[in-house]
Amino acid sequence: MNDTTNLIAESAEKMFSDLVNKAVLDKAEEGVFADEIWRAICANGFDQLGVTGSGTGLADLFHVLVVAGKHALPLPLAEACLVNRWLGSNEVFGSIGCVEASQIVDVPWGRQASVIIGIAPEGLVRNKGKNARAGVNLAGEARDSVELDAQESVACIDDPFALLTLSRVCLMAGAMQTVLDLTLRFAQEREQFGRPISKFQVIQHQLAVIAAEFAASLKAADAAVEALGTDRFITDLAIAKARIGEAVGVVNELAHQIHGAMGYTHEHQLHHFTRRLWAWREEYGDEIYWQTRLGAIVVEQGGDGAWDYLATSR
């Protein structure tokens, strides 16, 4: 990360830790759009990350998304910024979903959007954000759907599906960090048998496994961001989405086990992060989807050529 990117990520950290809390997350899950946070985001220019002329690049957006994931920001920052990037506008709250038959589905906060972009195999279509049907993913995040209307196509030099995939990769890396932090803290505070449970070897080993899975996930995510704009991007993205998706299963399982019944309550904040991890690993291609794409690339190299492909990745 360069200095500018660091500064942007630091100010995002400050903004999100000031504004996002359990009450806000619960409200968002009840269907209340986090308007105050959205206004703060716009006031600070965070809805313009990656937009031409904003002085920021896509890498800045994705570094901020790690921070957003860390706080479970209940707004579709990636979608909003990418709509501004593709439409070159800044007056709207836009969102993005995938075209399925005659609909655009899984649109985060589509009910709130003034414009919705649908990703189809043949390109992007633009929809007016009206009459969206409310829906949620398993984390209770708004995932709405709309009927396709005028189908105005949108020109775009990016690979939209890949950038949305990378958004989930970065969000997951951030959320996983919080799951690790919460679990470390809980294990050191919770006492049983006369001492903190973190003093038990079995708990220490489980925490070590979570830490290792998180470290691998963070590295994979960072490598994919680093590869933006290079001919290795899809490979590194596939590596990241597949690797992190696999880590999510391990991390969530152990984090909940260590938290015991406390972490199973709605009152505890852990589930805001673990449920998002479960939801995001499904969005924009699960492990099998990306493993298969990645495998096809490696198979092309053959058994003897695979090493060269792996080793000269950068």
């Binding site: 690790l180 470390l184 294990a187 050191q188 973190s198 003093k199 070897q201 220490q204 080993h205 925490l207 070590a208 496994v209 830490a211 290792a212 899975e213 998180f214 470290a215 691998a216 963070l218 590295k219 994979a220 960072d222 490598a223 680093e226 590194d236 596939a238 590596i239 990241a240 597949a242 690797r243 696999e246 492990e287 099998i288 990306w290 493993q291 298969t292 794409r293 990645l294 495998g295 096809a296 490696v298 198979v299 190299q301 053959g302 058994g303 003897d304 695979a306 090493w307 792996l310 080793a311 000269t312 990745s313 950068r314």
Partner: protein, 376 residues
């Protein structure tokens, strides 16, 4: 600690990679062996060739036969050798572990005496840590080396020392003072000349059928006092730093690599969807581990001591080495395995229990990580 900074292999490392591949091609009669395990394949002639190319002890200063090259360049040489299934076990420990130990703690006389032979690929070292009653609890070693005239009298037994029956020297962790309340005190590291000091070396057959590791018995073996490495009594600090050197290299995640090669060959150009996914799954793990390991090489290059990071690479890497054959075998279920796959699989499975034992068990590593997390 959990952030592995970006590290890019420099251009000279990529140039070197091409040279290593050329060299491997010219040695194709020796290659590939059916596994990429660094503890099998003892081939002094091959090691001497590597030494002649300047690829052993390559990060060390020129005055001791080193080439003053970067950790990135060493990384590239080691990963190319392992991926190709090259026979590297003769010089491996000397290059990775014993040499750096001598460089850091050894006397001027020791460095001059031992390091050049290592870099030529002619002088091989074994590790002398474990004992019959000392495994993970390394501070419990009972082998003693007590002062006797101008030297030390060594008594005790070392165990699991790979290639001690073939190698020239061992760095042994011994008690130079009787055990006290401070169990880390009174330990020292001494150099043993395995060919001439009079230690009894007995190979132990492993479950894979190989005879690589050994029992070494010392009965009143007298060694001169200049064999002590570093200050007497400083053994614990030295041995723990030695262990952290050895944990993050590509040998911690490439041991099963030949299975992957044969797996890709066996599925051919038109894999079934689940076979592509299996290959992708393995690739995702491998590529991520490789980046983490290169990041650690970058930390070493900057003079840092990434002990916890190295433990994380070994923990993840060893688990992956065991996972890889499991993924591959089930993905090929129902199709007749090629001879190459069958052989790589057999070799690797039989060696695999050692992956999470050697160089610190999985349990010890998780303890190291837990300490890094502030839990101990």
């Amino acid at each position: 600690m959990l952030t592995f900074d970006r590290a890019e292999l420099p251009a000279e490392a990529e140039t070197l990679r091409a040279e290593v591949r050329e060299f491997l091609k010219s040695n194709s009669a020796r290659l590939p062996r059916p596994n990429s395990d660094f503890t099998t394949g003892h081939d002094p002639a091959f090691s001497a060739q590597l030494g002649a190319r300047g690829w052993i002890g390559m990060t060390w200063p020129l005055e001791y036969g080193g080439r003053g090259r970067s950790f990135f360049e060493r990384y590239v040489v080691t990963e190319e050798l392992l991926a190709a299934g090259a026979p590297v076990s003769a010089h491996w420990i000397a290059d990775r572990q014993s040499g750096p130990l001598l460089l850091r703690y050894g006397s001027e006389q020791q460095k001059a005496a031992y390091l050049p032979g290592i870099t030529r690929g002619e002088s091989y070292f074994s590790i002398g840590m474990s004992e019959p009653n000392t495994g993970s609890d390394l501070a419990s070693v009972r082998t003693t080396a007590y002062r006797m005239g101008d030297g030390y009298l060594v008594n005790g037994t070392k165990l699991w020392s790979t290639d001690a029956h073939r190698n020239h020297y061992m760095v042994a962790l011994v008690r130079t003072e009787p055990a006290s309340d401070n169990r880390h005190a009174g330990l020292s590291q001494v150099l043993i000349d395995l060919k001439n000091d009079g230690a009894q070396v007995r190979p132990i057959r492993n479950m894979a059928g190989g005879e690589d590791f050994n029992e070494i018995v010392f009965t009143d073996v007298l060694i001169p006092e200049d064999r002590v490495v570093g200050n007497p009594g400083n053994g614990w600090e030295q041995v723990t730093s030695e262990l952290s050197y050895e944990r993050s290299g590509p040998e911690r995640f490439l041991s099963a690599y030949r299975v992957f090669v044969e797996f890709i060959k066996a599925v051919g150009k038109n894999p079934l969807p689940h076979q592509s996914a299996a290959i992708g799954r393995i690739t995702a793990h491998l590529a991520t581990l490789r980046r983490m390991s290169i990041s650690v090489a970058g930390m070493l290059e900057e003079g840092k001591t990434p002990a916890v990071e190295a433990a994380l690479v070994k923990e993840l890497g060893n688990n992956f080495e065991k996972l890889l054959p499991e993924i591959a075998r089930l993905a090929l279920s129902g199709s007749p395995p090629s001879e190459g796959f069958r052989q790589a699989m057999t070799d690797t499975l039989l060696l695999s229990p050692s992956f999470t034992l050697r160089g610190g068990t999985r349990e010890i590593l998780r303890g190291v990580i837990a300490r890094g997390l502030g839990l101990r």
